[in-house]
Symmetry: C2
Subunit: 231 residues, 2 copies
């Protein structure tokens, strides 16, 4: 049984109820910790769920920032230094990662507050999370202001990647599930995953093949799986 | 054991290897089908993994489009009509959803090609996916061109929401896991999820509580869970 929320109904919802509801609409979201520091070397760590793939060549990611919220120190630091790190959150430290969203004063390092370990790699100018098994250093490329709700779309370029070797497949796919990478739904729900399958590049009039984690074909999908209603 | 990819190493990677690798960096991504039609009533359906939450008031979502790729018909249709639908992909039809990424001619409806059912609700001007248990109609609000790689960041406003009643929690959280909503990693890997927990709003010097799916507190987290290294 489906329930419909009209726009008027959405507008009339209690504010926190609406925030929880609307935050669930996009589906599963990535969980990443942003590692930054200011020019005095004060460290900051903040969990975000809005990191999105932008392109592979040049290698780019994007994320949404709300500068007047708890992530304002991260935003100030990335503008000040031009660099930051993005660290995937795993089931080994998801609760500590969530705790970084508390409103600590700027002088308080969230690394210390929640017990995660800052790590510097190859002289990159922002701290990584030592516990993270997939992380990368990025440089700020562009900030686009979104007038509709005064948020910022941050575009960053990937400068270096550090990943546990066990996750690297022959064809370049990274098995983030094997690293325990978590997904987020809504504002506060954390999930581990179980792979259904990888699928081959889709072509018209030809069902995709199942691929194993290394990208090898393992079976051809039956025709009726991709044509559900055409018995 | 960690492996490092320097920027030079990334630049030198074979193109498809790089695309697979970089697509994994953001972590788990949402799986959604965009439902559109042109002004002649030709339907289009396209899977995307870049839908992100933008804000709850006004209710906004964003997504990245590459207009010169297989999603160009969707992009043209949303510009032409100003509206589209976003339909969460579940484990009931993930393979059919993947198949929409094949390069069908514009005159061919992907609904027909993959066997999903177009559905019109409340006179909204774009087709929904009947099989989807969480879907919403949006109006195009703004398109921001990203110079760095000639992609478009599409900002859309949520006009109506349709969700299976069983997924609605008392506090507004939608249990997308109970709907079988899938997550994507990389270009082609699909995953179902298992909830670790919901967590209460984080406050400094106070560990977050575990919440059940309806938002009720079920236990206080032990102090050492959020302060991993401060025995």
């Amino acid at each position: 049984m489906m329930k419909t929320f009209t726009r008027q109904h959405i507008n009339d919802l209690e504010q926190r109820y609406r925030a929880r509801l609307i935050n669930c609409l996009s589906g599963f979201k990535s969980a990443n910790l942003l590692g930054t520091q200011d020019s005095d070397g004060n460290l900051n760590l903040a969990i975000v769920s809005s990191v999105v793939h932008l392109g592979a060549n040049p290698p780019l990611v994007g994320l949404i920032m709300r500068p007047n919220t708890v992530v304002r120190h991260s935003f100030e630091n990335m503008v000040e230094t031009g660099v930051f790190t993005i660290n995937q959150v795993s089931s080994e430290f998801w609760q500590a990662a969530h705790q970084t969203s508390a409103r600590y004063p700027k002088s308080q390092s969230e690394f210390d507050a929640v017990g995660l370990t800052p790590e510097y790699i190859d002289d990159f100018g922002a701290p990584y999370v030592a516990e993270s098994q997939l992380k990368y250093g990025v440089s700020l490329r562009e900030i686009k202001h979104i007038d509709a709700n005064n948020t910022e779309f941050v575009i960053a370029e990937i400068e270096q990647i550090h990943v546990n070797k066990t996750a690297i497949s022959e064809d370049g796919y990274l098995d983030v599930e094997s690293l325990g990478t978590v997904a987020v739904s809504g504002l506060d729900s954390y999930h581990v995953t179980q792979r259904l399958s990888r699928l081959s590049y889709a072509k018209p009039d030809q069902p995709a093949d199942h691929l194993d984690v290394s990208g090898e074909r393992i079976e051809t999908m039956p025709e009726n799986v991709t044509r559900l209603n055409q018995g």
